[in-house]
């Protein structure tokens, strides 16, 4: 292959520029293909999902060995495989995952990790939360979400700590409690683990660069409503709140705007590559809520985070899982205000309509269906990619990827190859 004869440094630059030019809504030499993945590489490498989450060094190797031969234009980071060990150390209750040390969190080895929804903040705690959000999050929410941090429920009143004696007596007493010792041990173990974890992710990023591949997506941020709905009030709770506590719900959502901006940027700074921040959206999709509800509860918080990221010179990369055909006007409005500063990754959304509405302003990524990559033929995949490129190619601003989570874990390798090769074949703007 001619491509692989080039030096990795040259290839890196070419690929980086191809992707950046595309995001900037200009035509590069070719439509980039940047698939997202979760467990596809580790499955191909013969690892169980448990092994992938507990042996990240091997996972990194699997990513490199399975994905780089495809000659795609950028590789995904390791952050979509959550470290099982870290979740064990903190006794996470908000997820279930394969191989968890505690039975209550354990799924079978071949299953991916999944969220456990619940009311980690109760409706009757709203008022208390607004009076003292730090206190309620520390003493109530965190102990419910993480078993190893239950001791925080006894954290002394902050007001007591302001007097010198409070610090001299109250804090050491808190610190001497057995539950607090468990917190200390867990956090120390988590810190030690994270040092190893970041060295693995950094090595992964460096290896990629040496091989000529940029890293796509650096940090992660969420829509504030999703933070509330996934991890605090639960979907049921958050949706009942729309009726019973609408003002409180909005106020709670707003609390998470700044936090999501900071979290996204902070993680991104650790690995300064292609500056797109991954924003997987959950409840915004068609069918979850009405337009009015979307406009009142979801969209304002989300756009505040997106604007915050843009101000920090990052590109919010929304993963619009499911269909967003009823939300296109909102996406268009934002894109028109922020030309070349936003990326929309679509799953079951009509690409032609998206291209028509805001193709000149926002980069579109997607959307080869998971069912096709898993069960289709290479020819069907090629046809789908060809058609998508015909629809979206003009003027730049289009990246080929799978629909749901990119390449599904169970995808057929020949179909994945067909997706990439079809992009090379039909995506050329100029030789």
């Amino acid at each position: 292959m001619i491509v692989s004869e080039k030096k990795p440094r040259v290839l890196y630059k070419e690929r980086y520029e191809r992707v950046m030019t595309t995001i900037d809504i200009k035509e590069p030499d070719r439509v980039p293909v940047v698939p997202g993945v979760m467990f596809y590489p580790t499955e191909q490498y013969g690892m169980t999902k448990k092994e992938a989450m507990y042996d990240l060094e091997k996972t990194a190797k699997a990513y490199l060995e399975v994905l780089t031969p495809l000659n795609i234009d950028a590789l995904p980071p390791l952050l979509s495989i959550w470290p099982g060990k870290l979740m064990d150390i903190l006794k996470a209750r908000v997820f279930k995952w394969p191989g968890a040390a505690e039975e209550i969190s354990r799924l079978e080895d071949h299953l991916p990790f999944q969220f456990v929804e619940g009311e980690y903040l109760k409706a009757e705690e709203y008022e208390e939360l607004f009076e003292d959000s730090t206190g309620v999050i520390l003493r109530k929410v965190i102990p419910r979400q993480f078993g190893a941090l239950q001791g925080f429920s006894e954290f002394p009143e902050f007001s007591n700590l302001a007097s010198g004696l409070g610090v001299m007596f109250t804090l050491p007493i808190f610190s001497a409690m057995s539950k607090t010792k468990e917190i200390n041990e867990a956090l120390n173990a988590a810190s030690d683990y994270l040092i190893k974890y970041f060295s693995i992710t950094n090595n992964y990023g460096n290896s990629l660069k040496k091989l000529g591949f940029p890293l796509f997506y650096t940090g992660i941020a969420m829509a504030p409503f999703d933070v509330v709905s996934d991890l605090l009030r639960g979907m049921r709770g958050s949706m009942l709140d729309m009726y019973r506590h609408p003002e409180e719900l909005k106020k709670l959502t707003n609390i998470f705007i700044e936090g999501q901006i900071k979290a996204g940027v902070q993680l991104a700074q650790l690995t300064p590559k292609i500056k797109v921040i991954f924003m997987p959206l959950h409840r915004g999709a068609d069918g979850f809520m009405s337009k009015d509800q979307f406009e009142e509860f979801y969209w304002p918080g989300l756009t505040s985070v997106m604007e915050g990221l843009i101000k920090n010179n990052y590109i919010p990369g929304l993963f619009l899982e499911g269909g967003y055909n009823e939300r296109l006007e909102y996406l268009a409005e934002f894109a028109k205000k922020h030309k070349g500063k936003v990326l929309y990754w679509f799953d079951r959304t009509d690409l032609a309509k998206a291209k028509e509405l805001f193709g000149g302003h926002a980069c579109i990524k997607g959307n080869v269906p998971g069912s096709l990559l898993n069960m289709g033929t290479p020819q069907q995949v090629e046809d789908y990619v060809k058609e998508s490129i015909e629809i979206c190619k003009d003027g730049g601003g289009f990246i080929i990827d799978g629909g749901v989570s990119g390449i599904p874990d169970e995808a057929q390798p020949e179909n994945v190859k067909a997706m990439v090769d079809a992009t090379f074949k039909y995506g050329v703007y100029r030789k």
Binding site: L107, Q114, Y243, G287, M289, E321, M375
Partner: protein, 207 residues
């Protein structure tokens, strides 16, 4: 006094509960009240079909109906009446998948349309589906899944149903986040539904 049915459909929680209390205090016929509630459920289902109602509204209506049934059921038991359902549907999220949103919406809509639904919950194994089919004897099996791994779980479940000699006696529909019409043949189902409304239409067609 405003219309009880309309107030339920409008999801005016406090008002509706107050109205039911009044009705019960005035010894209104519990069966007649039940009919009104059923009528309201139909109205809510229609709004969902027309895309006027979405998940928050369905969840809220579920919450209101739960409270109404709690208040009404002691009186209903006194009458000793039992209601006839239109048909039986067995429902569950398939093995390996713990997502329940889509499944719950389908359950609500089938309930609202007068079908008897047995919900096996999430992460349901092939064996459990087969056993429940033997006990419950549904006419329709509804398999839900959000993750792509659900394709293979559905396939396995339907295979086990075939192995148990039960395939011919049942219609099978599939649905959920990543499922589309391409999956129907692969897993050996009869049909795919894009939405809960499709699910209701399929059951109506089959039963």
């Amino acid at each position: 006094m405003s219309n009880f049915i309309d107030e339920i459909v409008e999801l005016n929680e406090n008002k509706v509960i107050e109205m039911l209390k009044f009705k019960l205090d005035n010894n209104e016929d519990p069966l007649a009240i039940m009919e009104e509630i059923k009528e309201a459920m139909k109205g809510i289902g229609e709004r969902f079909e027309k895309k006027e109602y979405f998940l928050p509204d369905l969840i809220m209506s579920g919450e209101i109906l739960r409270q109404l049934f709690e208040m009404l059921s002691p009186k209903l038991k006194e009458t000793g009446a039992s209601e006839k359902k239109k048909g039986k549907v067995l429902l569950g999220t398939v093995a390996g998948d713990i997502h329940d949103i889509g499944k719950d919406v389908v359950k609500f809509m089938l309930d609202a349309n007068g079908f008897d639904v047995l919900d096996l919950g999430v992460d349901v194994s092939a064996d459990k589906f087969v056993d429940s089919m033997k006990d419950y004897k549904p006419q329709v099996l509804a398999l839900s899944g959000f993750l792509t791994l659900a394709f293979d779980s559905m396939k396995e479940i339907i295979q086990k149903i075939k192995d148990a000699g039960l395939r011919k006696s049942i219609k099978i529909m599939i649905g959920g986040g990543t499922v589309d019409e391409r999956i129907v043949e692969y897993v050996g189902a009869d049909a795919y539904g894009e939405s809960a409304v499709d699910a209701v239409n399929l059951v109506k067609e089959w039963v």
